[in-house]
Amino acid sequence: MNTTLLAFFIVAFISLVAAWRVITDPSILHAGLWMGLSFVGVAGIFLLLEAEFLAGVQVLVYVGAITTIILFGIMLSDVGEVRVGPEPPGWVQAGAAWHRGLRHAFPLLVAAGFAGTMLGLYTQSGWGQLRERPLELAGLSVGGIGRELFSTFALPFEIASLVLLAALLGAIVLAMREEER
């Protein structure tokens, strides 16, 4: 087993476990921190694929900005614990252990089902020229991506800023207190 594969398994394991804890951790603050760890794991996978730019963006945007904002949001609102659904009915409480186990297993089952489907697809033989020229795309340098962004992809790049403006406006107007007007 070569080191890259070993590194991949370690990083993938970390991000999977972290993602599972996001769903199952009863404290929402911890769930937010687990999510940050999961993002770091994904950044590691990008690094292994020689996509340095994506790894950097992943850390800056997802770990740096999104996780921080989510933690801020949690701390500013008075939410300490997540209530996982309503109280189970009596006959379920009899098998409370079973119920708890199910609650932990369900996200695993869904994720495994989805992962199985996608893995099944990815091993199919339909892939086109990408198979023949993987490095050209994967090894695209930061400079190369920058040039592409401001030449071929300039237009969608600029429209993405409008998307941000719309999201910002929508968030502010929905979260604003009425008294302030």
Partner: protein, 515 residues
């Protein structure tokens, strides 16, 4: 000239007006003429479109495509945006809505729709879709005092985010198979692929991408959001979702299937045929049981998506042209219905079908107009809806989809029942007195949510309402003029499309070639 700003002129003008509205609204005062400024946006874009029409081609590294198809859908978008702002003018005076942000988001959503229509590049179509979607999510939740509105926004947002992810998965698979996101290149790569039927990867890609667009046009397995969102959203936004969002999503849909995936027609054609039949039948059957007008229009819009989809299933130049014609007529008949609905809701402070009782005596103009829009939705001459449906029907029969055409006719007959239910309320039921204070135009911006609070919001919200009444100014005018104008415009175009279809036929025929 490859990176000239000229072909972007309509979109740029719309963005400019969106920002102008936003800046003009800064501060606490109530700005006069805000609605008029917002309405100038789509009008300016229409003018810009006239200039751009003379410069067909592809620009900005093939990201922007100016052809008759994109011009058609851009025209639809700008006309729709204009009419929706016209509908909003009265509405935002009576509801606790932040007008500046409301208009800005409508204009930005319009930009997103026009971007979706004017590109053959999946990346651009996706970014346009997101711009449209994010603006719509916020617009749906704009009446923050109403739980229904917030609930609708949350539902729409969560389901929309998931389907967006599915769409992206589909796009990434298509990119993996063909090595490009440019639709004509995807088509030529797929044309070389042997064994399309057995390519599981391609099947998954097609299903994922169809799911992404199917959500936006509310096809049946992905329709769950439609009734709740239609009912909870501010009424002009309901109209916007019904005409703007749907038309733009169909534009992306048609471009994807006709330009990108014609080689995989054997994959998506049977799937979409099934979906179309189920969508029509489900929408019409469920609409029969509704008592709320907006909810009924939600189910009606599901059924209409089914009719429109038949044009894609048949997949001939004629049937695509019929789809475009139907979308054109659909824009005006739906805006008309929602204009009448807003007018009635202003009078009666209710959006139930029962609020239409005796409208024939109280306001014959609106009653007759509404009846004509309904005739058009059912597909009865002399209306645009009839011409569109007839054209769809004809195209289906010509290419041996007789069974689909028959299902469409049966469904139209079913739909007659619930539209007739409203017409019966208008003429055959005794007149209802107008709600106190409403007809006089003295309604404060808060009185409507207060009246509704008894049914939809908890008592706490209702009791806190009177103190807030001071913070919102009284409406400056009773203003149903804007609604009347919207009804007249819609009426004229629905009748024009029904009585004088020839030039429009030629126009959509050219646009449907996607050249």
């Amino acid at each position: 000239m490859a990176t000239s700003l000229l072909p972007l002129l309509p979109q740029l003008l719309l963005v400019l007006f969106a920002l102008a509205v936003l800046l003009y609204d800064l501060g606490n005062e109530d700005r006069p003429g805000l609605g008029s400024l917002a309405m100038l946006g789509p009008l300016a874009a229409l003018l810009g479109l006239g200039i751009v029409a003379g410069h067909p081609g592809e620009y900005w590294g093939r990201m922007l495509k100016v052809d008759s198809f994109s011009l058609f859908f851009q025209l639809l978008t700008y006309a729709g945006t204009f009419l929706v702002i016209l509908l909003s003018r009265d509405y935002v005076e009576r509801q606790p809505i932040h007008r500046g942000e409301f208009y800005t988001l409508i204009l930005l959503a319009g930009v997103g729709m026009s971007v979706m229509a004017s590109s053959a590049e999946l990346l651009m179509i996706y970014v346009g879709l997101e711009l449209m979607s994010l603006s719509s999510y916020a617009l749906v939740g704009m009446i923050k005092r109403q739980d229904q509105s917030i609930e609708a926004a949350l539902k729409y947002y969560l389901m929309g985010a998931v389907t967006s992810a599915i769409l992206l998965f589909g796009i990434s698979l298509l990119f993996g198979i063909t090595g490009t996101t440019y639709l004509p290149d995807i088509a030529s790569a797929l044309a070389l692929t042997k064994d399309i039927q057995g390519n599981l990867l391609l099947i998954a890609a097609v299903v994922f991408v169809l799911a992404g667009f199917g959500f936006k046009v509310s096809l049946v397995p992905l329709h769950m959001w439609t009734p709740d969102v239609y009912q909870g959203a501010p009424t002009p936004i309901t109209a916007f979702l019904a005409v703007g969002s749907k038309a733009a999503a169909f534009a992306g849909f048609i471009r994807l299937l006709a330009t990108g995936l014609p080689a995989a027609v054997s994959l998506w054609q049977p799937l979409l045929a099934l979906v179309a039949v189920v969508t029509m039948t489900y929408g019409n059957m469920t609409a029969l049981a509704q008592t709320n007008m907006k909810r009924m229009m939600g189910y009606s819009s599901i059924a209409q998506a089914g009719y429109i989809l038949t044009g894609l299933v048949v997949f001939t130049p004629d049937s695509l042209a019929a789809t475009l014609y139907y979308l054109l007529a659909y824009l005006f008949m739906n805006i008309g219905v929602f204009a009448c609905l807003i007018w009635v809701a202003n009078q009666q402070e209710s959006e139930e079908i029962a609020a239409f009782r005796g409208l024939g005596q109280r306001a014959p103009f609106y009653a007759v107009s509404l009846a004509i829009f309904f005739l058009s939705l059912v597909g009865i001459p002399p209306t645009g809806g009839f011409m569109g449906k007839f054209y769809l029907f004809f195209a289906a029969v010509q290419s041996h989809y007789v069974w689909l055409a028959v299902v469409m006719v049966i469904n139209s007959v079913i739909s007659l029942a619930y539209y007739y239910g409203v017409v019966r309320q208008m003429w055959l039921e005794p007149c209802l007195p107008a709600a106190p204070g409403a007809a006089a135009g003295g309604t404060s911006r808060w009185s409507m949510p207060a009246a509704r609070a008894s049914t939809s919001t908890p008592p706490a919200a209702a009791s806190s309402t009177p103190e807030k009444a001071q913070s919102w100014p009284e409406p400056t005018k009773p203003a149903s003029l804007a609604l009347g104008v919207a009804v007249v415009i819609s009426l004229l175009l629905v009748l024009l499309l029904g009585l004088y279809p020839q030039p429009f036929f030629e126009w959509v025929g050219k646009a449907a070639l996607l050249g």
